[in-house]
Symmetry: C2
Subunit: 303 residues, 2 copies
């Protein structure tokens, strides 16, 4: 990759323009989805499918006993007054319930261990073809009866615009700690959409992350772009029993519906970034988001 | 059935108390789900399953050509200025889009014909074991991207409280005019829940129907009751291609999630009531709802 310095902002040329005043057409990404060059626990067929669809699923990544251990850890965190008061904890306005806790790989020993577990870490290394660092970690709690969903978005669009991630050389692992049915607000993806970058319209407001963590408003793809991607690729849902995991590309378009069922959902979410994709200044925001949402330093993870 | 006159309200004794100030425990209903005594197009196995689960599905009830015809009719209705201005049309506040049109079996010749079609009418007669009348008819439009769902409810609870329907001897047919996926806000049901009546807390406000048609607030079952029913019965979703139909009991607990996918949903919805279950005064409301929402006269349907 040739880095041409943009002297205005001391960052590479922006190959993924977004948050523009006028709409830009979606375009094909240049980087691969699977970078290759490293062996790991993903078998060739699964890796090829990941390359095509932008995601791969792993049933029973965690054992039932491990699921129970991590569920107890999430209960402990959500009921700890110090954790609730921490700025890294997102509390839903209307219900006062904990919805997410960020940077848990630094505050929970169990989750610190999990992000270095070969079942997790070596899959990320294998897809990204390099050593990796944690860009973000969090645990999510979606309640039953009144669980809110997330509208369609590409994580990379946000990480590029607001965190200064140069390329979509990052991958997320979502590990379900509860059973995901088709009807309780699980993740929906547009398979194959990771190959298309969808620029979004509208400048990023200051401290946008405070609103965007509970409700997306800026960085929203157009309905026309979503319709085209869905018509081409359809919609896949991440369903499966507790302990299963979804590994998905940073630019995969995804979202989730609400959850009126009595079945709550919780998961552990870790974003791995290639150490060759270190953050620069944000491409479309006045200041980077806090480090607990988007780690500014890229320390390679090691066991 | 012995009708004991309640002299305060000139209506039979209320065997399904609801909208009370204090919570009442759920209890088993006394009436059957399938009344029997009439032959019809439903085969014995399907009828037995309907009796157990409170619903039955019919793939390709309408042919693809019929689906196209009815979709065109719905488009015509939704874009007709006179229809939009009619009090029987529900327009979503935030988007100004038509969400439902009531009493369409009186305003659309095509739908008037459909409710008398043997595929529809004779199934209702067969389940209810009698001649039937239309209690309510409507067409529903759920848009893509921002389709709102409906929280869990028993229709009978509302029809009993607000319309004066004595018994759950009524059945609804929902005919899909678009494909129902697991992820675009299709109907969810708690199978078997029709056998349990769940009284709801809270007095019915005046003209409650104006708010309740877009958002349920009163007549909402408790989370404890929903959790018990879902733990016992699970959740089923109504999925299938356009033209398929769901026939379900008036007391079946059902709801729907929102729809952020690009795939809109529309359907035709007809409620048949047994002519032996004619409405009386509302059991828990000051005045009955308008006739276009709940027909006060019980004329047996005939071809």
């Amino acid at each position: 990759m040739t880095l041409t310095t943009d002297t205005r902002h001391t960052r590479p040329v922006d190959r993924y323009p977004t948050r523009t005043a006028e709409p830009l057409a979606p375009f094909a990404r240049t980087e691969p989805t699977v970078w290759g060059g490293r062996t790991g626990p993903i078998d060739p067929a699964t890796l090829a499918a990941h390359d095509t669809h932008g995601y791969s699923r792993y049933d029973s990544l965690l054992s039932p006993a491990e699921v129970a251990t991590f569920r107890a850890e999430l209960d402990r965190l959500a009921t700890d007054d110090a954790v609730r008061a921490d700025e890294r904890t997102v509390v839903e306005r209307s219900s006062a319930e904990v919805r997410s806790i960020f940077e848990v790989h630094r505050t929970s020993e169990l989750i610190a261990e999990l992000v270095r577990d070969p079942r997790v870490l070596d899959r990320a290394r294998q897809v990204l073809g390099s050593e990796v660092s944690v860009h973000q970690s969090r645990v999510n709690y979606m309640p039953g009866f009144h669980g809110k969903g997330f509208y369609w978005h590409s994580d990379f669009e946000t990480w590029h615009a607001e965190d200064g991630m140069p390329s979509p050389r990052a991958v997320s692992m979502s590990i379900a700690l509860t059973d995901n049915y088709p009807f309780n607000g699980g993740l929906m993806v547009l398979p194959g959409s990771q190959r298309t970058f969808v620029p979004c319209v509208g400048e990023t407001p200051a401290e946008h992350y405070k609103a965007s963590l509970t409700e997306q408003e800026i960085g929203v793809p157009s309905r026309a772009a979503l319709s085209r991607l869905a018509a081409e690729h359809g919609v896949d849902q991440f369903t499966g029993t507790a302990g299963s995991a979804l590994l998905f590309d940073s630019n995969l378009m995804h979202g989730s519906g609400n959850n009126i069922t009595p079945f709550p959902r919780s998961n552990i979410f870790v974003v791995f970034n290639s150490v060759e994709n270190a953050l620069v200044e944000p491409y479309a925001a006045a200041a980077p988001r806090p480090g607990f949402i988007a780690a500014r330093s890229a320390e390679p993870l090691a066991r």
